[in-house]
Amino acid sequence: MFLNYFALSLLLGFITFLSRSRKLNYFLLFVFLVLQALMVSFVYQNIGVHYYDYFYIDSIGVIFFSLLSLIVAFDFYHSYKHLKKNPPVDIQHESRFWAALILFITSIAGVYFSDNLAVLWVFLEATTLFVAILILYERNTFSLEAAWKYLFISSIGLAIAFMGILILSGLTDGNLNISEIWQNATTLNPAWIKIVFFLIVTGLSVKMESFPLYPVCVDALGIAPPPVSALMTTTLMNAGLIGVFRMFSVILQTDSAEWAKSVLLIMGILSVLIAAYKMSHVRFLERLLAFSSLEHVGVILIAFSLGEAGLGIAIMYMILHSLIKASLFFQADKISYIYHTHKLRKIGHYFGYDQFGAIVFMIGFLGIAAIPPSGLFISEYLLIKAFIAQGSYVVGIGLFTLLTIIVYFMGHNMMHLLFTEERECPVKVLTKPSTMESVMPFVLLLIMMYLAFLQPEFLYNLIRMAVPIS
């Protein structure tokens, strides 16, 4: 089943690419969703199984593959709606979009289950190629610029990460299997493992959407069709974070662990700091959400920097953030369509036009700003508490201050959007909102609340298994 999943997904992507029938495309998408569901069931039953030395089904892969499948189901619906509202040039254009989407999702799944760093790199590079096609969907000068920058900088970033992987292969006599490197991590040269870690983390920052290569991601998220942005800022970001998580698990076993923690802490704090600054003068809704992702990935890296104590918090945070952010991007697509603009100053009084949509958006805002009853609040609280408990007052208080500033700027824009009149020449004729389009984002938020507050045992066990114990 495992390799069949990749073979069938590749085949489905290829047929969709060649398809010249809309009905056939929808049928193929349905088949792909069924395949995703079957694969979820399969991986749950096969945790701990290796495939050909290149793949390994571990609990972190299972968690994020299940999350990917869930978000993809919602994403297909919103992509379908987006394509209805922004029709493709011709059926070939539409088929390319769906084919790229299927192959993009398959590549992300490949990253989640890769046990070999070279294979992981190959899948990450593949995500770059497919996502560039998706960003270009609108075919205007903005999408061309965003797609080019993303493709080019991602390629450079991944070349840097590949240099790290090559040096690691030298350190391990050519063995790039993560589970085997993890077992023999203590024998690795401490100076060189630092260089490897630094190169890989820097390169993967383009996938994590964190400092230092975040700008191309922000541009891409602001321009890509929102359902594509929803996948990029959740499942693709998680793919980058999983790459870092796997490498971090290795370095945690070595004498360079404290150094690696410091690197992640600095990257995390800089990401949150930049997000706080950028949010103070952001002008577009999707870019606001993109900078919010920069903030959250910063928090996740800070959680990683706590070592084993923070990894569980980070994984839970990644799950909840993915559900909320996907919901917000789906809702943002609807808002931009109603107001015919992405500009924040031209959007206002949303409560007056679409009550249900506004309520969903407000819950999403409370969620992403980590305001109770958001599940993220618990994670951030535990994180700050952990720093205070270990005597890192500056980090704890500094993080709390930055997060407060971000909540202020985010809240300022969101409250204007929801409750006050448009601040700049309002659009005269608004499109009638569709309630159905807010139902799916609402369901995602309900799932987020369920996972955050009831914490089902299966999830708790999977997270516990995912945290490496030395």
Partner: protein, 210 residues
């Protein structure tokens, strides 16, 4: 013989900084591909036959012919002949690349005691990586950015020789396919940019900001 190849490779890095004719850049990429195949042949002669053949194919066919010819096609389509929009004069760039190569060799000299690394390749690989980055920074043209990316990719290939660990051929093929697809798609984007803006200058790609 290997040292001769390394000196030749370093010379191509210098020449990249002083010339401004696009044809010459492509010619230099062709030479780099040939030099890499020469290094591979001498350095990896004891390798398993299929792996050696694959790497030779990668360097000769892909790096020396397919990619430069593909880039030549893009150059002709977008009518890119000579570039005079470097942000830094050539003689300064020459000094920067010279200093970069010297520093790379000095750095490698400090690594002599490490068994897993061939310092002679490591030094030129690092120099090529930084020369590629520098090349991208000083040019305001997307076509030149792609050439800079290829210089970096060739540097990464040299690094793989420096650590000299055999990978399964399946992974080598996947990596090559990814890089090749990446270059092809970047090339298609350049055509797209050329069609849209009637120029391959990156100055047109500055609309996305706050």
């Amino acid at each position: 013989m290997e040292y001769l190849f390394i000196v030749g490779y370093a010379a191509t890095l210098f020449y990249f900084t002083v010339t401004d004719r696009v044809k010459k850049y492509l010619m230099l990429l062709f030479f780099q591909g040939l030099i890499l195949s020469g290094i591979t042949f001498f350095h990896l002669a004891g390798m398993e036959f299929t792996n050696l053949m694959f790497i030779l194919f990668e360097t000769v066919a892909v790096k020396a012919f397919i990619i430069p010819l593909f880039l030549m096609k893009i150059r002709k389509r977008n009518n890119i002949v000579r570039l005079s929009e470097k942000t830094i004069p050539a003689h300064y760039s020459l000094v920067v690349v010279f200093v970069g190569i010297i520093l790379s060799f000095l750095l490698s000299n400090t690594l002599q005691d490490l068994a897993f690394i061939h310092t002679k390749y490591f030094s030129i690989a690092i120099a090529a990586f930084f020369a590629g980055l520098y090349f991208i920074i000083i040019h305001k043209n997307v076509f030149m950015n792609l050439i800079g990316y290829m210089i970096i990719e060739n540097g990464v290939f040299l690094l793989s020789l420096a650590v000299s660990q055999e990978k399964p051929i399946l992974i080598d093929i996947a990596i090559l396919m990814d890089i090749l697809a990446g270059v092809m798609i970047l090339g298609m984007f350049i055509n797209h940019i050329g069609n849209t803006f009637k120029s391959a200058s990156s100055e047109y790609l500055t609309q996305l900001k706050e």
